[in-house]
C-alpha cells in the first residue's frame, strides 16, 4: 500500500483538507452533548426557557455547520480517491507498455487485466473510505475522550482505559482476517479459471465425457471458497460483539463510579448524561468502523496486487541510436553473430550458437521441427528478447544499441497467434502504420486508401474484405470472432505490410491457408518491393523452397543453410523433412 502513496501526492491539498473538514464536523458533533448538558442542567433544572431555546438554536446551528463541513470533506475525499485511481491506472498501463516479452510471459496478461480494473477500483474505494471515514472514527473517539476530560477528569480515565483495549481488538481481528481475505480472493481466482476453462474447452471435455468429473472438481474449488468465506465471516463477525462488550463494561464502570461522585457532589446529573452520551458515541462509531474494516482489508489486498506489478523491474535501458536509414550494399540487413538464447527460468537453451547473415532484399526461409527454435530466432530480430550470448545486428547495428521504437518501426511482424482488435478493418490496418505517419484516426485520405488497398491485395485479403458489407469499414468483433482463421491471418499480414517494412517477418503466418492461397500470397509479397528482407517461418517445405536462403533448425541448433537444392544435397535434417512431406511423390516435382 505504501508504495502507492506517491500517486496521491498530486492531491496533497485534498488529502489534508478532507480529514480536516471531517475533524471540523466531529468537533461540531461532539459539542452537541455539551450543549445538551447545559440545556438540561441550566434550562430544565434551572427552569430557564430562554436557555432552552438558545441551546435549541445552537443545536440546529451545529447541525448545519457539521453538514457543510461534511460535504466539503466528501468532495475533497472523492477528488483525491478518484484522481488517485486514475493515476494508478495510468502508471500501471504505462508500466505494462514497457514490459519485456519475458515479463509478459511470466506474469500473464489475464491477471494484468484484473489488476488494472477490479483491483484499482477496490483500491480507489479504500482511499475514499480512509479519507472520509476511517479518520472520522479515531477523531470521534479521541474527541469524545477529550470532551470527557473537560467534563470530569476522573471519569475520563475510564475512556483512556477503554480505547487501547478497543484498538487492540480491531488490530487483532484485522490481522486475523487479512490473510483470509487474500486466500478467498485466490480461491475466487480458481473458480474463475475453472469456469473459463470449461467454456473454452467445452468440445474436448464433452468429447471425453468429462462433464461430471469437471463438475466434481468445480464443486471442490467452490466448496473450498465457501469454507474460507465462512471462516472469514465468523472471525470478522467477532469485531462488533467484542467491542460492544468492552464499551458496555465502560458504561457500567462509568455509572458505578459516577454514582458515588454525584452523591458526593463532585458531578451533576447532567454531566453524567453527557459522559454516557460520549461513551455511546464511541460505540456507534465503532460499529461503523467495523463495517469499514472489511472494505479496507479488501483494498489493502488489491493494493498489494497492484504494487507487485509496479515493483517489476523496469525494462533494460533502451538504445539511443536510430536505425541506419539507407543500407549500404555490403552491410547485411540482419546478422546473427554466434547467438544463443536461454529463456528466464528455462533449463535448456532455446537457441545455440546461431550464426548467419541475410542481405537486404533477401528472402530467408526458416524450417525445422516443433520446438526447434524457429519463433525464438525471429523474435530476436525486433529484440523481443535479448540474446544471452552473441549479438544480433540489424543494418549493421547491434539491436541493443538501437532505440526499440526505431528498430521496430522498420519491421513488419506477423505472429503465429493472430491478435486483431475490435473496430473496423481499416482501423486495424492503420494500427500497422509506422507511428510517425499516423494521420489520425479520422479522415481517410486517398493516399491512405491506396496503401490499404495495396496491403489487402498483397495479403490476398482484398476479395473477402470486398465481400463484407462496408468493405474496409466492416466492423470486427473483439478477437475478430466474425472472421475465419484464414481470414484473420491474412488481415494480420496486411497490417504488417501497412508500414512498408524493410524487414518482414512471417512467423508461420499462413498455416491456416490452403496451398493455393499461400502461393498467391508469397508471389504477391515478393512483387511488392525489391529491397524488403523477408523471413518466412514455416513447417511446410513448399512455403520455403524458393527462398534465397533456407535456415534449417533442429533443437535450437542451426544444422544447415543454403538453397533448397543445396540443402537436399548436404543437410540430413532437411532431406528428412522434405521426404516426410513428399515421400513417393518426389517424382511429381516436375509438376511445377
Amino acid at each position: 500500500m505504501r508504495s502507492l502513496l506517491k500517486y496521491l501526492a498530486e492531491y496533497k491539498k485534498e488529502t489534508v483538507l478532507a480529514p480536516l473538514f471531517k475533524l471540523l464536523e466531529v468537533v461540531f458533533e461532539l459539542t452537541v452533548p455539551l450543549v445538551m448538558a447545559r440545556l438540561i442542567d441550566v434550562g430544565i433544572l434551572g427552569h430557564r426557557e430562554d436557555v432552552i431555546l438558545q441551546m435549541g438554536g445552537l443545536l440546529a446551528l451545529l447541525g448545519f455547520a457539521g453538514f457543510v463541513s461534511a460535504i466539503t470533506a466528501q468532495f475533497f475525499a472523492a477528488r483525491a480517491a478518484v484522481g488517485f485511481a486514475a493515476n494508478v491506472r495510468m502508471a500501471l498501463f504505462h508500466k505494462i507498455q514497457g514490459f519485456s516479452f519475458s515479463q509478459l510471459d511470466s506474469i500473464g496478461t489475464k491477471t494484468l487485466t484484473t489488476r488494472l480494473t477490479s483491483d484499482v477500483n477496490l483500491a480507489q474505494n479504500g482511499v475514499n473510505m480512509v479519507l472520509r471515514l476511517i479518520l472520522r472514527s479515531p477523531f470521534v473517539i479521541a474527541g469524545a475522550t477529550i470532551m470527557a476530560f473537560s467534563v470530569d477528569v476522573r471519569a475520563a480515565f475510564i475512556f483512556v482505559a477503554v480505547i487501547p483495549l478497543l484498538s487492540l481488538i480491531v488490530f487483532l481481528i484485522m490481522r486475523g482476517t487479512g490473510p483470509l481475505y487474500k486466500q478467498a480472493q485466490g480461491r475466487l481466482d480458481e473458480v474463475l479459471m475453472h469456469t473459463r476453462e470449461n467454456l473454452i474447452g467445452a468440445r474436448v471435455i464433452r468429447a471425453f465425457n468429462r462433464e461430471e468429473a469437471e463438475s466434481r472438481e468445480f464443486d471442490e474449488v467452490n466448496g473450498a471458497l465457501t469454507r474460507t468465506q465462512r471462516v472469514t465471516g465468523a472471525i470478522a463477525g467477532l469485531l462488533n460483539p467484542l467491542t460492544q462488550v468492552v464499551v458496555n463494561i465502560g458504561i457500567i464502570v462509568l455509572i458505578a463510579t459516577g454514582a458515588a461522585r454525584v452523591d458526593s457532589g463532585a458531578l451533576t446529573q447532567g454531566q453524567v448524561v453527557a459522559l454516557l452520551n460520549y461513551m455511546s458515541q464511541i460505540l456507534i462509531e465503532l460499529v461503523k468502523f467495523a463495517n469499514l474494516i472489511v472494505t479496507i482489508s479488501r483494498a489493502m489486498a488489491s493494493a498489494d496486487r497492484i504494487s507487485q506489478v509496479l515493483a517489476e523491474p523496469d525494462p533494460e535501458d533502451d538504445g539511443e541510436k536510430n536505425i541506419a536509414s539507407d543500407a549500404q550494399e555490403d552491410v547485411p540487413a540482419v546478422c546473427f553473430d554466434h547467438v544463443s538464447l536461454r529463456y528466464t527460468g528455462a533449463g535448456a537453451e532455446a537457441l545455440h550458437d546461431i550464426d548467419f547473415s541475410a542481405r537486404a532484399g533477401e528472402t530467408v526461409g526458416i524450417i525445422g521441427g516443433t520446438g526447434s527454435g524457429k519463433s525464438s530466432l525471429v523474435h530476436l530480430i525486433p529484440r523481443f528478447y535479448n540474446a544471452t550470448e552473441g549479438a544480433v545486428r540489424v543494418f549493421g547495428d547491434d539491436v541493443r544499441t538501437l532505440r526499440s521504437q526505431s528498430l521496430r518501426q522498420a519491421i513488419g511482424m506477423v505472429f503465429q497467434k493472430v491478435e486483431l482488435f475490435a473496430g473496423t478493418i481499416r482501423e486495424n490496418l492503420s494500427f500497422g502504420k509506422a507511428s510517425g505517419e499516423d494521420s489520425g484516426e479520422q479522415g481517410v485520405s486517398a493516399a491512405d486508401r491506396a496503401v490499404i488497398e495495396e496491403a489487402l491485395a498483397a495479403s490476398q485479403a482484398a476479395e473477402f474484405v470486398g465481400e463484407k458489407p462496408g468493405g474496409a469499414e466492416y466492423v470486427l468483433a473483439q478477437g475478430a470472432r466474425n472472421l475465419s482463421g484464414g481470414q484473420r491471418q491474412r488481415l494480420s499480414i496486411a497490417r504488417a505490410l501497412m508500414r512498408r517494412p524493410r524487414i518482414l517477418i512471417l512467423d508461420d503466418a499462413a498455416s491456416a491457408l490452403d496451398f493455393a492461397t499461400d502461393l498467391k500470397l508469397r508471389t504477391a509479397i515478393r512483387g511488392l518491393s525489391g529491397s524488403m528482407t523477408i523471413f518466412i517461418v514455416s513447417q511446410r517445405v513448399p512455403s520455403v523452397r524458393f527462398c534465397d536462403r533456407i535456415l534449417v533448425l533442429d533443437k535450437g541448433h542451426l544444422v544447415g543453410q543454403g538453397t533448397h537444392e543445396e540443402l537436399l544435397e548436404s543437410c540430413e535434417v532437411y532431406k528428412e523433412i522434405y521426404s516426410s512431406q513428399f515421400m513417393e511423390d518426389a517424382s511429381q516435382e516436375a509438376v511445377s
Partner: protein, 590 residues
Amino acid sequence: MSGRQKTGKKGTLRRILKYISGYRLSLAFSLLLSVITVGCALYIPKLSGEVVDFMLGPGKVDFPEVFRTCLRIGIAAGILAVAQWLVNVLNNRMTWGVVEKLRRDAFSRIGHLPLSYIDTHPSGDILSRVVADVDTFADGLLMGFTQFFTGVCTILGTFLFMLSVNVWITLIVVVLTPLSFVTAFFISRITSRMFAEQARVRGEQTAFIDERIGGQRVVAAFGKEKAQEETFAEVNERLRKCSLKATFYSSLTNPTTRFINALVYMGIGVGGAYFALHGVITVGKLAAFLSYASQYTKPFNEISGVVTELQNAIACAERIFELIDENPEVPDPHDAVVPAQHRGEIVFENVSFSYTKDRKLIEDLNLTVKPGQRVAIVGPTGSGKTTLVNLLMRFYDVDAGEIRVDGVPIRNMKRRDLRDMYGMVLQETWLKTGTIRENIGFGASGASEDVMARVLEAAKTCHADDFISRLGDGYYTRVSDDGDQLSQGQRQLLCIARVMASDPSMLILDEATSSIDTRTELKIQDAFEALMKGRTSFIVAHRLSTIRNADCILVMKDGRVIEQGTHQELLAAGGFYRMLYQSQFAGEAI
C-alpha cells in the same frame, strides 16, 4: 426448468427465497437472535437512562438501585454480544451456502448448454455471470440478512420503547424522521444516472484494457505503446471525471441524513425540555429518549443503502438465473439404444445443416463410410469440413436427415455412449490447467498406476516423451490453456497422446497435426497407423501428405461433397482436388 421462464423481479425474488429455504432453520434462528440483539441493544440505553434518575444530586443517590441496574446492563450486554456473534455466523453460513449452490447450478448448466450457445456467446459474459454477478449477489444478500432485518427490528423496537416512555415526544420523532428517508431516496435517484454513466465509461475502458493488454505483444511489435497510452489516457480522464461526480453525489446521503437527524435531536431536546419543565418526564427519561432518537434514525439510512444494494443483487441474480434457465441440449432419450455391435459403419442420409437460418451450409449430404475406412476431408476454408466433425460428435444436431452409427440413428443414442466411441483431436490445442500426466490421462479411466502406464505409453508413441522429460517436473509439470511454456506443436502432441491414452474405437482428427513438423509427424505416423487400423477414422487436413493414404477422400466446397475417391482417382480426374494438390509444388520467386 425446461425453457426460459419469464422471470420478473418477483419471480427472481421467489427463486432466491427457494435457494434460501434450504437454510430455514438457520434463518429462523438468525431472525430470532436478531430480535434478541435489537432488544438488548435498546434495553441498555433505557437502563442507563433510568440509572441517571437514581442519582439526583449530592446525597440523593440510590446506590442499591444503581448497582442493580449496572448488573442488568452487564447481563444484557453479555447476551447481546453472544447473540450478535451467532447472528453473524449464521448469516455468513447462509449467504455463502446459497452462493455456493447458485454457483454450482450455474456451472453445471454450462456442462449441458448446447455448443451453439457457447460458440455464440462471449465467454467473458458467461464468466462474469458465474463469478462477478454471483459475488455482487452475495454482498447484497449478506447485507440484506444482517442489516435489513435488524434495521426493521430496531425501528419497530425503538418506536415501542419511545412510546413506552412518552407519547408526545415520540410523535415529534415519528413526524420528523421520514424526512431523512425521503432525502436519501431522492439522492439515490439522482445519483443512479451518474452511476450508470460511470459504469458505461468503465466498461469501455475495461474492454480496451482487456483487448490491448491481451494483445500487448502485437502492440510492442508495432511500436504503438505511445499511441495506445494516449488513447488510454483519454478514456482514463473521462472515467476520472464521471467517477468523481458519481462518488461525490452519492456520498451526500450520509451528511444530509445526519443533518436531518441533528434537527430531530434538537426537536427532542427542546420539546423534551418543555415537557420536563412541566414535570411530564424526568431528566433520565429524556436522556434515554435522546439516545433512542439517534438509534431510531440510523436504520433508515442503512435501509436506504441496503435497498440499493439489494436491487443490485436482484439484478445480478436475474442474470445468473438467465444462464441457469438457458435451454439445455435436447435431453438424451429415455429408451436410448447402443449399437449391438461396434463395427464402425457411419451413414449420412439426406443431412442438412446450417448455423444460422439465413446462410445454408450443408445441404442434402449423403455419405456411407464402411467399417474401418479411413476418410479424409479436404477443401478450402469455410467449406464445411469442421462442421462435419460437429455433427459426427453431436456437438450440433442436424436440421434434417439423420446420421447413423452401426445402424442406430445417433439421435437415439446417449451422447455419452456416442462420444465414448470417438477419439478426437482438434486444431485448437486446449489443455486443462493441471499436470501433463492429468492432461494425457484426461479420457483414461481406471486405477492410477494403470493410467500412468497408459500415459507413458501414449507419450512415447507420440514422441512426446522426449520433450516432456526435458521439462522441469517431467510428467508432473503444470500446464495451462494460456501458458506460454509449450509451443503449439508440443501442445498438439499432448492432445494426440491424450487420445491415444483413451483408446477410442473411432477417430476424428481435425487438423490434428497442423502445428507439428512433418518429421515428427512422420514419426508418429506409425502410432496413428496402429491407432487407425481397423477403426473408422475421419481426417480433416490442409496438408495433403497426411491424407494421401486415405481409403476415401471427400473434397468439400460450399457445404457439398464435390469430389469423392482415392488420391490416385482424384488426381486422374483432374478436378478441384488436382488443383489443390498441385499448388503445393508451385511457386516461383519466393
